[in-house]
Symmetry: C2
Subunit: 333 residues, 2 copies
């Protein structure tokens, strides 16, 4: 059985249930509070023919951040966990890493030294682990990692740490003729490996950060080689730029969870016509995590401060979600 088939098997159940649920009651994992009511009211306004706020299906573009919005981002971004595992796997070919930061920190599991390496250190890890191979080779490496790696706290594949209420929301929006896009600070080629199976979002509806690639003919066969140079950072002010460049339409709904999503929500909701912005606030240390202003990953501060004035809906994870992860349903834990 291929790695991708195993991945599909592991995730098939959650996905099927999320899809079939919409026929009965929309958003069954959402408690019937103000957040769910705001979502349902917005979708009703824009999809009711004859309503002054009716939006034709072609313009029903909804954009979703990924880390912390569709899946978890603690204790560190999952793609950074991939980079760390990859650096460890490549270490035998790089003896110099034993004494070079940030690689030494990774190999010695030295959290403090890794934190001290800062953003520059992270870029170095990403380049060492994400470049130097063809695009096809990279996709295979990610696929294999997703099949084998386990989250340290939940001891499950990372792709099971997706938010059941958000899976239901994605499916329900699509049932209402929205097109759902991911707009993530994460790498576009990392995301595309699992976005279709896990979220039902096809490759061409994923916007993300990217490194440069170079076209080459190898024995007459074309390949794209991944280079250790950043092409585009799809975060903060980069998100509206990425949306405009890839989608070319102004979304009518945006879903995020951190200050990295602030400008995406401003861009989406700061235009004429019906608009919807939503922030997921991580308030549930027991079922997931509780964090906001002080978190190194998924810091939520300025965006939360603007939510009231700009009319954005804030989800209180603990209060608004009946379950967080698919595997927590039906009393499972």
């Amino acid at each position: 059985m291929s790695a991708s088939a195993r991945l599909a098997g592991a995730l098939g159940l959650a996905w099927l249930l999320a899809t079939s649920a919409r026929a009965a009651e929309p958003l069954p994992s959402w408690k019937d509070g103000p957040a769910k009511q705001a979502i349902v009211a917005f979708v009703s306004r824009v999809t009711t023919p004859g309503s002054p706020d009716f939006v034709p299906p072609a313009a029903r573009v909804a954009v979703f951040d990924n880390d912390g919005t569709l899946w978890s981002e603690q204790p560190l971004y999952f793609q950074l966990a991939f980079a760390i595992d990859r650096v460890k796997a490549l270490a035998p070919q790089h003896p110099e890493w034993k004494t070079t930061q940030p690689f030494q920190a990774v190999l010695e599991d030295d959290r403090e030294a890794l934190a001290a390496a800062g953003e520059h250190g992270i870029v170095e890890l990403v380049m060492a682990s994400h470049a130097g191979m063809t695009t096809d080779e990279f996709a295979a490496i990610v696929r294999e990692w997703l099949a084998k790696a386990r989250h340290p706290r939940f001891e499950r594949p990372y792709t099971e740490l997706v938010f059941q209420p958000m899976l239901e929301l994605l499916a329900w929006l699509r049932a209402n003729e929205f097109r759902t896009w991911i707009v993530s600070g994460g790498g576009v080629e990392f995301l595309r490996v699992f976005a279709e199976q896990v979220y039902g979002i096809p490759p061409e509806q994923v916007v993300g950060s990217s490194i440069r690639t170079r076209f080459e003919l190898r024995d007459g066969r074309p390949v794209l080689v991944r280079l250790p140079e950043i092409a585009f950072v799809d975060d903060k002010v980069g998100k509206p730029v990425g949306i405009h460049q890839f989608i070319g339409r102004r979304p009518i709904a945006a879903f995020g969870n951190s200050d990295g999503d602030l400008q995406m929500l401003q861009w989406t909701t700061g235009a004429e016509g019906p608009r919807f912005g939503l922030l997921v606030h991580h308030t549930d240390a027991k079922r997931e995590w509780a964090y906001d202003r002080q978190s190194p990953f998924g810091r939520l501060d300025a965006a939360l401060g603007e939510a009231g004035e700009r009319g954005w809906t804030v989800v209180d994870m603990k209060r608004d979600w009946k379950v967080v992860f698919p595997f927590q349903r039906d009393g499972r834990r």
Copy 2:
């Protein structure tokens, strides 16, 4: 009546006819020769359930160059005509252009001096005419130009110089559950203004060259400002890069007309499974233009040389197309 409504009116007829034609006979403006037969045979192979070459609809991605493939590109790229008209309109605010190349050449209609300014000169014209405004303002400027400008030879709006056989091909592929994308060296924001009305291709299925944009809040309202810096050149080796970054899937069919499309055709057809590549060869000086190896715009040399060995279909415009432009049908000229 708005500029866009006028544009739609002018183009509505061609589009409707191209769409309704498919029910009767596919590709009515194509003569029944080897090019049409190759297209029809390929579409039949990939869409017949149970065929060993069957391709599921989600993977039926077809990419089209624009200049010289979907519309004409003589006597110069239409977007360059826009840049020239724009420089003339802006000249009163730039008295220094009277004595500065390449602007002086434009203002004096001096073809030789303009050609002498070369690629660097073109970039200067593009930056002066395409940057410094918001994305919304730029789209309005392009829309207005398309409504008013007339092609020097045919004295019609540029958007009427589209190829009737290609309109039929786009519509027929979509009727066969292909998704049709533009992958153009032209500017993505220029193309998106008319691609949906003229070709039925929505903004999110247009890949093109781009300049950088910057997110700004103006009195709390978000805008994207166009900057005079190139972000991405979607031409030659850039086309497979753009396809991979925007679409994230390998196309199964690619349509071009020049050496700028060589790598796009290599990338599309140089993979396993059923693949189709096609080059439009401009051979019809009477109805359109005849040019290839020596042309400054749309030069076709290396790609034509590889067509045989790589199995690409070459359209001989004079031989294979019953009409070129929609306005030449039914004996009209």
